[in-house]
Symmetry: C3
């Protein structure tokens, strides 16, 4: 039961990661794929493997909308058809590169690894906030050495911040004292894990902006869409003011995860466009979350998560619901009932 | 038939390897375990894997006798029970970390990976000589990239010293000329491999302490207890004096081997507490024995030792007896007759 | 169907690679073998693995025609028999190292991994041109991280030069414009892939040696013998002169491939004995061919070539014929009909 879900939109890259006039090669769901931008502004996605001798087409060159293999010179169009033969005769019609539907939306490139006839762009989860001009954000990509569901577990239970992110987020235990967890399933299939801290101790950095002894309300709301496209909303305000007196501007950030392999994940995020924000994001992701997720992956090895008999805590309620939903989707695709 | 023997004492570490107020993490028999010292002076040994999300508990912290996970803050007592929950409610009673019996003895820490009810400390092989105040010895630990039975083969046939340790021990062929090998099984189940060189050519370094032309007697006695806890006794004296005129003080040293994995071993040894003795031990272990043992392991790969059809020499008599005894123990544990 | 063909001559090394008075150790067909030169000028080839504890005999020493193990001192003669025991008693007669027939010919050392009774040196493919005194050539050896049949594919379709070797060979597309491919099977079982460019555009470097506007004829003839011993003949002359006016001396070079493992190959080649020629060969092999072959191997992984359903082009005619011949040989050895 570790197969990938096929009929689902995954994010492959930020649009700006595709080099102008060039090729982006990336391992997605265990296979190498390439993405390039067509002359009409659309994008094409081909398996990064020549059907002749299997070498990556990205070792070749882009000539207009055609990708030429660097080994024997066959050229492939956006639909995977062989369009160019270095010999005078016609390109061999039986030679075809695999392709996937790819859609540019919300500054990202989304692909559908399943039945192309079902690839309805309306099913891409709503990340319209990424299209906004303000605030200007810097987008980033990294890989984490852990299965995408382990990364999801991490994001769907932010109580870990109290241990893992003490240095970066300056937590003070208020989640444990004053936090209430709510799990909701939205009409669009999203699963929400919402931590609400009511009348909590104020963090040190906020005390200067508050009346003496004032406390705070805080929202820490994570939204998940299958397979692992998440968004995090954070708000903090003076307690009892119904968030009308925010201490920081409300934040909304993508945490979009795409499997690279069964044991590694692409992580798409953003941060404010300055060095300090970049350094903070790097510290949180690479020095705090990643070593822990990688350790979980290493401990799990090739074993199925449930076969390893994990202890389930109340705080896992949302994470477990996501895992169940994915299990149902996998079963349905495998032909079972789910 | 490569499973580990379970109902048996293995050495995990020298006591001084456990950091004061801290945690020692070590892979033993293919699993990560942690050891820490309790406030009452005893030791506790827990699987180094949180039962919640599998991450090493040693990535967390020790707070008194409780080990707190660094991911979501659960705390585990010496018996593996969850003693601490960061949320106000009681710790989840169903969450338990695995433990093993561990006993401090002979300056080492001994664990029993099998049925805890059978873990009788009286079964720990006698290394009382390690408790002595004199001579003061420096204990050491290294890992070798070879199965523990290949390391045992090495130790149970010291004729290899004539080839592998020429530079360090200055051998002169007297083992081949004047050596007699005796193999004995002792009442406590120990297997002894004894080389006795009688009236042998004296080594160059001893000639100054001997009458002109005098020869020497030498004992090279190795004792083995299952699974691979060995001790080496060496004596050398003027020939014909019944060891009443020793040329060096009698030596007795531990060579205690514990499987890290099926293809790597922990090696616990000691040497005199000076730089020269340390350098000599390092040269013998890391430059002479280890490359050969590692080469044997690499050649063997995943193949069973007997399936590889090794040629058996007379000098293998003791090593083969140890291998048979382990085979019987494994069969007995697997439910067969042995 | 990935087993090696056994009853076949493979090249192990150039004769000059065996150190004077020493031992060459090399992985061939997944196993370590050693080669050394005997006092009578012949060569011996033993499995580089002591039958006692499996360590490489090459970690020991050569003493005359006997190889002494560095672990316990057993010595093995050219026929693999144990000839030396460090103990006074006779060498153990049941202890024998594996051997293979090895023949020195054409400056190389050829081995036969199958039934020794069938190892007829007359079956070694004809590389007599390597014995010539003139021109003096420098022989070389490298390993490529690809299966030997992928390396063969590369050599049996030189149209790849137009893409991969543009920088080194200065190709100008004439193969596509003016090339005709002929595939022939010779009486000795050799498969020839012959590119003949007739009345082709002259390369820039040749224009100075030609009448204004003259064109060229070129031969690019590759000869293959199972399993993967190839030779390349190149000629270029003024067009229409029936090669009587050569622009460069005719070239004849070995490209002899021997499997190291299923995914890596030994490559035996030669070049003119000067730094420039050496640098050119290194660039062609390590910067142009090898990355592509390695990429094909990585893409293929453990999958069988045909199971990966490669697209077959007309230019693959010779390469496919070689693959079929090897398949027949494997089937015949496996007991089938082929």
């Amino acid at each position: 039961m570790s197969a990938y879900i096929r009929n689902c939109w995954y994010m492959a890259a930020w649009q700006e990661e595709v080099p102008e006039g060039g090729i982006l090669s990336r391992v997605l769901l265990d296979k190498k794929w390439l993405i390039h931008r067509l002359e009409n502004g659309d994008y094409a996605m081909l398996e990064d493997r020549c059907p002749h001798r299997f070498v990556p087409l990205s070792m070749g060159s882009k000539q207009g909308d055609v990708i030429r293999c660097g080994y024997h010179g066959l050229g492939f169009g956006p639909d995977g058809a062989c369009m160019h033969n270095p010999f005078p005769e016609a390109p061999p019609a039986h030679v075809k590169a695999a392709t996937m539907p790819v859609v540019a939306r919300y500054r990202g490139l989304w692909f559908w690894p399943g039945d192309a006839a079902l690839a309805d762009p309306a099913l891409i989860p709503d990340f319209a906030f990424l299209d906004k001009e303000e605030p200007v954000m810097q987008r980033g990509h990294m890989t984490m050495q852990g299965n995408y569901e382990l990364v999801t577990d991490n994001l769907m239970d932010l109580s870990h911040a109290e241990f893992l992110h003490v240095e970066t987020f300056g937590t003070n235990g208020s989640l444990f004292e004053s936090g209430a967890q709510t799990v909701e399933v939205a009409d669009d299939g999203a699963i929400w894990n919402m931590w609400d801290m009511t009348n909590a101790r104020a963090p040190d950095w906020a005390k200067g902006s508050l009346p003496e002894g004032a406390r705070v309300d805080q929202k820490l709301h994570m939204r998940w869409h299958a397979p692992a496209s998440l968004a995090l909303a954070i708000e903090m305000a003076q307690a009892g003011t119904d968030f009308s007196k925010p201490l920081v501007p409300p934040m909304l950030n993508p945490h979009i995860i795409t499997p690279e392999t069964q044991s590694s994940s692409h992580y798409f995020y953003d941060h404010e466009p300055n060095d300090e924000a970049r350094a903070l994001a790097m510290k949180v992701f690479t020095e705090e979350d990643e070593p822990m997720i990688e350790a979980a992956q290493e401990a799990l090895g090739d074993q199925d998560f449930w076969d390893a008999r994990p202890a389930i805590l109340k705080t896992d309620a949302a994470a477990v619901r996501c895992r169940r939903k994915l299990m149902q989707m996998r079963k349905r695709e495998a032909g079972g009932e789910g």
